[in-house]
């Protein structure tokens, strides 16, 4: 009996609907407008493998006051929200 399933990870990214502006910067997360972009940064990993990972993270302040971290998956496409 072999359990090969990966462990349950915490903080796994969840897909989220994001509206972006002409420069590719997030304007709204779901229905909430983005008030400010506090910070943005890029994470690259596994560039030595075929499953390269490249994400552009944004720390956002939403109109309802929430602080949210989202990222754009540059290699696979799509936007995700993640607990930082």
């Amino acid at each position: 009996m072999i359990a090969t399933a990966s462990a349950r990870r915490l903080g796994a990214p969840r897909p989220v609907s994001i509206r972006v502006d002409a420069h590719g910067l997030p304007e709204a997360v779901g229905r909430a407008q983005v008030e400010a972009i506090r910070e943005d940064w890029v994470v690259e990993d596994r560039w030595w493998t075929r499953r390269m990972l490249r994400r552009r993270y944004f720390e956002l302040v939403l109109e309802d006051g929430r602080n949210t971290v989202v990222f754009h998956d540059v290699t696979g496409g799509g936007w995700f929200v993640q607990r930082s």
């Binding site: 072999i2 990870r9 915490l10 990214p13 990993d45």
Partner: protein
């Protein structure tokens, strides 16, 4: 009578997996990662080029530039061999096996189950193992093994009756003694002394053998006379195996965290039924292909995760290459883990005991994943999902 089962090139076939058609070409097992630069088992086509197991890679490639090297897969070979032993057990046999590819079992107790004669036992064995297995029958393990090595494709079963044993063993080469790891160096010395057959070994007086070769010499003399130790059948395994995928080339603290998680998961398995662990095996599947496996026997059977971790963690340093997954298997259970009270405790033990009982009841009601704890795997990772995982809550009072 003892039946020897021999499946030639088993480790090579296991490593080839779905690519078994390659066995018809010159193929050899690549050197084990971290081991010497010598090839392992070789295919018949490779043997035709003069390549033999143990030959240095450079020499093997110069003899046959088309030789393909396949990464060894000891983990896969062990799993397949367990299936073979399970088939022998399915006909009532109690096999003993030290290496994948070779097994022994006593036939006498099985005659009644298979028509009353040895032929019935052999037919049943052949039925469950197929045609690729070579079967040898003799009065001892060594005689049966020698018989199995002397079989050929057309006659894959050879029975050496007790009365024919001496005549059968006498002309065989002393190199067959290498089947015993403790005698692996002896045949070369004997050959240098001009002793080339088992018959010549059997003719050496016992005192002379003891004086020149000591205990190994006496052991060889016993084998050459057809005497051998009785079979020690394996205990049917209770497979408890946990494996975790490593998301990147993990090392150091990350590997230790993965090991913590595996220990917690193994200890949380219901098959353990409160027993301590006596022997475990760490295994890894490498990024570049192939596997690695290291059995570890605990000095004292334990169900204490800290104690098990202390025994296993240093072995991670032996990991010879980057791994894509790490596994932990229980090879043997110990006695039931007992609660042990301390003279001066301050109530900690009692609290742990109550907490463990609460966890046990929660698991009973809602399954194994009812009580989990957050285990930091790689707390400094730039990717949040790699920092922590949920692991089974540890059993706090299982200190035997």
């Amino acid at each position: 009578m003892i039946v020897a089962v021999l499946i030639p090139r088993f480790a090579l076939l296991a490593a080839l997996g779905d690519r078994r058609t390659l066995a018809a070409e010159p193929v050899a097992l690549a050197p084990e990662v971290g081991g010497g630069q010598a090839v392992g088992e070789v295919s018949a086509a490779a043997e035709a080029f003069g390549i033999v197991p143990g030959m240095r890679v450079g020499e093997a490639l110069s003899r046959c530039p088309e030789l393909r090297l396949v990464p060894p897969d000891p983990e896969g070979a062990r799993g397949l061999w367990d299936e073979v032993l399970g088939r022998i057990e399915s006909i009532g046999g109690a096999p003993e096996s030290e290496l994948p590819g070779t097994a022994f079992f006593a036939a006498d107790g099985l005659r009644g189950l298979h028509g009353g004669g040895l032929d019935g036992v052999l037919a049943a064995t052949r039925r469950v193992l197929g045609r690729s297995a070579r079967l040898g029958v003799g009065s001892s393990r060594f005689v049966a093994w020698c018989a199995a090595t002397q079989t050929r494709q057309r006659r894959a079963t050879l029975v050496v009756e007790r009365g024919r044993m001496v005549r059968f063993l006498t002309p065989l080469p002393v190199g067959l003694l290498r089947s015993r790891p403790e005698l692996s160096d002896l045949p070369e010395v004997l050959e240098r002394l001009g002793i080339r057959t088992l018959g010549e070994v059997a003719a050496i007086p016992r005192p002379a053998m003891a004086e020149r070769f000591g205990h190994p010499g006496l052991h060889a003399l016993d084998l050459a006379n057809g005497d051998d130790a009785p079979i020690e059948p394996r205990r049917p395994p209770e497979p408890v195996n946990e494996r975790i995928d490593l998301p990147e080339a993990a090392f150091g603290q990350q590997l230790e965290r993965a090991l913590d998680l595996l220990i917690a998961r193994v200890l949380a398995r219901t098959e353990r039924r409160g027993r301590s662990l006596r022997a475990l095996a760490i295994s890894a599947r490498f990024v570049a292909g192939g596997t690695w496996r290291l059995p570890v026997t605990l000095r004292r059977a334990s169900a204490d995760p800290e104690r098990i971790r202390l025994a296993l963690a240093p072995r991670l340093a032996d990991l010879p290459a980057p791994a894509e997954s790490l596994g932990l298997e229980v090879e043997a259970f110990g006695p039931p883990a007992q609660d042990q009270t301390r003279m001066l405790d301050g109530g900690t033990r009692e609290r742990h005991s109550r907490l463990t009982e609460a966890v046990r009841q929660a698991r009973q009601a809602a399954g194994e994943s009812a009580a989990l704890r957050v285990l930091e795997v790689d707390p400094d990772s730039r990717l949040p999902e790699r920092r922590a995982v949920l692991a089974p809550f540890p059993d706090l009072t299982t200190d035997p």
